[in-house]
């Protein structure tokens, strides 16, 4: 023992080998977080204040004095408010049907509700156009003259796009309930309606607020749908693209970036504040609520859920259908010609996307799980700094991050310039764009291990590396896989951040869909979308089967 103490004393107090390894790990994850998150944001901030006469508020004064710009801000908020309200009501009803009724086919309906997650954001707009557009099935068949382009088009497409996100959050809120409250209420003579307003709604209010803010953020920062279906109705996300890509107006781009950043940041901050409060709803003594069948109620709920699912499937299904139509709407005969991909770069963007997504998955696994792990290992206030940087990207809209990358890295003096314009920077951009979500997935499982398993291992004499090799990784690997799959899927379907970073030789599949649609080539755009969705679904199924084959249950890959 004295020998052990003596050995330890040689390292003590600050040069303990384990502490050095942890510090090294922390630096390895912290440096890229700083470079790829903080630096781009700082660049935008700086550029937005840069005027011909030095730094000042000139740009802000100029654009906020511009009636058109103010109008676009108003447009964006209006669309976001409207789409959020509709999405939340629909998703709450759907989650309610899933958890509080005894309707049949819950599993299938629940899966269908998540389908929009597997598609790039503009696919919803594409589907809505095939259904309700000037040449859409409905107008063609019934000749109603509906004009979907513009405000309502964006709203409808974004409702579809954000529905699964809202549903997942509300589903978590409605899945748990304290049966005792309902029983007490009923014995006191409360009607079902009164119970809903006095028990259900209050106990899900945090989930509800969470969902509202998440959806609001998704809608104001969405780029794909407004691009395809917005028509003349400009919103900030499309405007930033037009100003930067079309006119190289970086000053205005930076101002819009800041304007987009503010509501998104507020929404995320409030959402974090709200979720921290959520845990008290269910205590250790709560009784789980069991759903009692009620034929009439279950039928109504089933009908409602069915309508929602049919709508979701219709939007995605019509895109599938359109990808096989010879020339929508003039020649509706079926053909495989759009899958020849004989224009543009052919199939190349799809392979590029898969490659970038794989790269993002690997980088994500290493750096994002690394960040989650190392934060639990360090006990100083640096853990707080690292945590903040890790979840900061949740508040940064993709368009803003992408613009930040241009401003920060499109500069030969910056070392990152070496990889500027390569596939690597696209993968990195995707990882740090979705860093917060990936980080939270990893943190959940790291937390389970880092408590007692880690401590047990340490007290038995294991060092950092042995604990990681023999305990942590063997226990959390399903979550590590899940983080990788998350980054793969997001990278396949994302458009907003990378749109600023692609070059003709590094074009991605989702961008191809946008360009094909823009060129009036809707059928090929549909075919390309289908390919993206098939790749995503194939990867999800493959890994879910893999996990099951390894005996892992309850690890959901759908995030």
């Amino acid at each position: 023992m004295n020998q052990i103490v003596a050995t330890a004393r040689r390292f003590a107090p600050s040069l303990d080998g384990d502490k050095l390894i942890v510090a090294a790990f922390a630096i390895i994850v912290a440096v890229p977080l700083f470079v790829f998150v903080v630096l781009p944001l700082a660049s935008i901030l700086k550029r937005s204040f840069a005027t011909a006469e030095g730094y000042g508020l000139g740009n802000y004064v100029q654009y906020f004095g511009d009636a058109r710009f103010v109008g676009i801000v108003g447009n964006t908020l209006l669309v976001a408010a409207c789409a959020t309200a509709i999405t939340i009501v629909l998703a709450y009803g759907f989650a309610y049907a899933m958890h509080r009724s005894a309707m049949p086919f819950k599993r299938t309906l629940g899966l269908v509700a998540l389908v929009p997650l597997f598609a790039p954001s503009l696919v919803q707009a594409l589907g809505v156009l095939f259904l309700l557009g000037r040449n859409g099935i409905i107008n063609r068949t019934f000749d109603l003259g509906i004009d979907i382009y513009g405000f309502w088009g964006i709203v409808v497409a974004d409702v579809f796009y954000s529905f699964p996100h809202a549903y997942l959050i509300l589903s978590a809120a409605l899945a748990v309930a304290d049966a005792r409250l309902y029983e007490s209420g009923r014995t006191l003579g409360a009607s079902d309606l009164r119970l809903f307003f006095t028990v259900t709604l209050p106990s899900t209010k945090y989930g509800l607020m969470s969902a509202i803010f998440i959806v609001f953020t998704i809608v104001i920062t969405d780029f794909g749908n407004p691009m395809v279906i917005g028509g003349d109705y400009d919103v900030l996300a499309t405007e930033i693209y037009n100003q930067v890509s079309g006119q190289a107006n970086f000053e205005m781009g930076a101002v819009i970036g800041m304007v987009l950043l503010v509501p998104a940041a507020i929404a995320v901050a409030v959402e974090k504040w709200v979720t921290r409060r959520q845990y008290a709803v269910i205590g250790a003594h709560s009784q789980p609520l069991s759903v009692r069948p009620d034929r009439r109620f279950d039928r109504i709920m089933f009908g409602y859920a069915l309508v929602i699912c049919i709508a979701i499937l219709a939007v995605v299904g019509i895109v599938f259908f359109a990808s096989f139509v010879r020339l929508w709407p003039y020649n509706m005969s079926l053909s495989l010609r759009h899958y020849a991909f004989d224009v543009q770069n052919g199939m190349q963007p799809l392979w590029t996307s898969i490659y970038v997504s794989l790269l993002a998955a690997v980088i994500g696994i290493i750096f994002v799980t690394g960040a989650a792990y190392v934060i639990h290992k360090i006990r100083s206030r640096w853990a707080g700094v690292l945590y903040f940087m890790s979840i900061l990207p949740a508040a940064v809209p993709g368009m803003v991050l992408g613009l930040g990358y241009i401003l920060a890295f499109n500069d030969p003096d910056n070392p990152v310039y070496m990889i500027y314009g390569t596939l690597l920077i696209l993968a990195i951009c995707n990882v740090y764009h979705y860093h917060a979500q990936g980080f939270l997935i990893a943190t959940t499982s790291v937390k389970q291990v880092s408590g007692t398993f880690d401590e047990a291992s340490t007290t038995l004499g294991a060092g950092f590396l042995r604990t990681m090799r023999s305990i942590t990784l063997p226990i959390i690997w399903p979550s590590v896989i899940s983080v990788g799959v998350f980054f793969f899927v997001r990278s396949m379907v994302t458009l907003s951040a990378v749109i600023f970073l692609i070059t003709p030789s590094t074009q991605l599949a989702a961008v191809s869909v946008l360009l094909l649609d823009d060129a009036g080539n809707q059928n090929q755009a549909a075919a390309f979308s289908v390919c993206i969705m098939l790749v995503v679904v194939a990867v999800l199924v493959l890994f879910q089967l893999l996990l099951r084959a390894c005996g892992v249950r309850g690890e959901s890959l759908i995030r």
Binding site: M1, A12, D18, E455, T458, T459, G461, A462, S470, I475
Partner: protein, 355 residues
């Protein structure tokens, strides 16, 4: 503990002025304690009293903000947990779910690079010690809670640790299993002669198992002593109320030169003058002749509760409730008038800490 004790006792682990804050909360306020070689010590107290933090400081899982830890005279304060060679058993079993029982037990030995044949032999021996030799190939989730905790014990003891640290090892188990394991852990500890610290919030557990009990509240040690010492001579009101039941009485002002109850003086042996006193329910005697003697008080019976081996009678004397527990209380009924005697020698002075 007096200085002379320290010389005669064989001090193994010594904690000196340990302080630990979590943010603005002081979890430990300058705690000092000596643990004798080969003894079984319990840290006892309500949740949030700092007992688990103190154990984690000993284990090296928390670094103290101030103070030092000495093990047989050498400074352990900055030695990382993995180099301390202490066996730790956690409340939540914490067996590695990806390893079999045998691999769990072998883990600490492999960390110390024991040769394989010795590891196998030691694992076998440890599992025999906890009566689980036949479960070696199973995974933790295939075992019951009690079995898992016994494996955890075997795993902690396998590398021949200097000390055994148990963090509420029994509180996640069923009552029956808990009873069995209490005895089993205590036997094992005696057999191996290993110095052991156990954290618990269960006073019965502490009294049954420990040589010495360390009662803690609000980050400080209230009292250290054997079960008998704590029960018969509690140093503070907190200890008096936490260990067993006790009546706490507020005395009136001067009644014939000494504080009293309801206008009658209360005599006590230890000559204390504190205004708050404690008296154990079993020490209160029923007096047949209502008028006789010193320290006899008369009141009205408030409640009578039959407990099987005992009957608990609650009495209202001058507005204060006094409970007494006696074997034979035949004929005592609520509303009746009853006289009781408080023996001078059984009175505990509780002032100083009273609020």
């Amino acid at each position: 503990m007096s200085p002379s004790d320290r010389i005669t006792r064989n001090v193994f682990l010594s904690l000196r002025d340990i302080g630990k804050n979590f943010g603005a909360v002081a979890a430990l306020k300058s705690v000092s304690l000596d643990v004798e070689h080969g003894s079984f010590v319990c840290f006892l107290g309500p949740s949030g009293c700092g007992k688990t933090t103190l154990l984690r400081v000993v284990a090296g899982l928390e670094e103290p903000d101030s103070g030092e830890i000495l093990l047989e005279g050498s400074d352990l304060t900055r030695v990382p947990a993995r180099l301390r060679n202490f066996g730790v058993v956690f409340q939540s079993y914490s067996l590695f779910p990806n390893m079999t029982v045998a691999h769990n037990v072998a883990y600490g030995l492999n960390c110390r690079k024991w040769p394989a044949p010795r590891v196998a032999e030691r694992v076998k021996r440890m599992l025999e010690l906890v009566h689980l030799a036949d479960q070696a190939g199973k995974y933790p989730h295939q075992l019951s809670g009690g079995q898992q905790q016994r494996v955890a014990l075997a795993r902690a003891l396998a590398p021949e640790p200097r000390m055994l640290l148990l963090d509420e090892p029994l509180s996640a188990l069923d009552a029956k299993v808990r009873e069995d394991l209490r005895g089993e852990i205590r036997d094992l500890q005696k057999e191996l002669g290993i110095t052991t610290i156990m954290v618990t919030h269960d006073q019965d557990e502490a009294m049954e198992m420990a040589d010495r009990i360390v009662v803690m509240s609000h980050g400080v040690i209230d009292q250290v002593g054997s079960a008998v010492e704590l029960y018969t001579a509690p140093a503070t009101r907190f200890v008096a109320e936490f260990i067993g039941r006790i009546n706490v009485l507020r005395l009136d002002g001067d009644v014939g030169g000494a504080p009293g109850i309801g206008g009658l003086p209360l005599h006590r042996e230890r000559g204390g003058r504190s205004r708050t006193i404690g008296i154990r329910p079993e020490d209160v005697e029923i007096v047949d002749e209502p008028t006789a003697g010193d320290n006899v008080f008369t009141g009205q019976v408030d409640k009578v509760v039959y407990l099987g081996n005992l009957t608990r009678v609650t009495l209202d004397i001058a507005g204060q409730k006094i409970a007494l527990e006696q074997r034979d209380c035949a004929g005592v009924a609520p509303g009746a008038t009853l006289s009781v005697r408080i023996p001078p020698g059984a009175i505990h002075d509780l002032e100083g800490i009273d609020t």
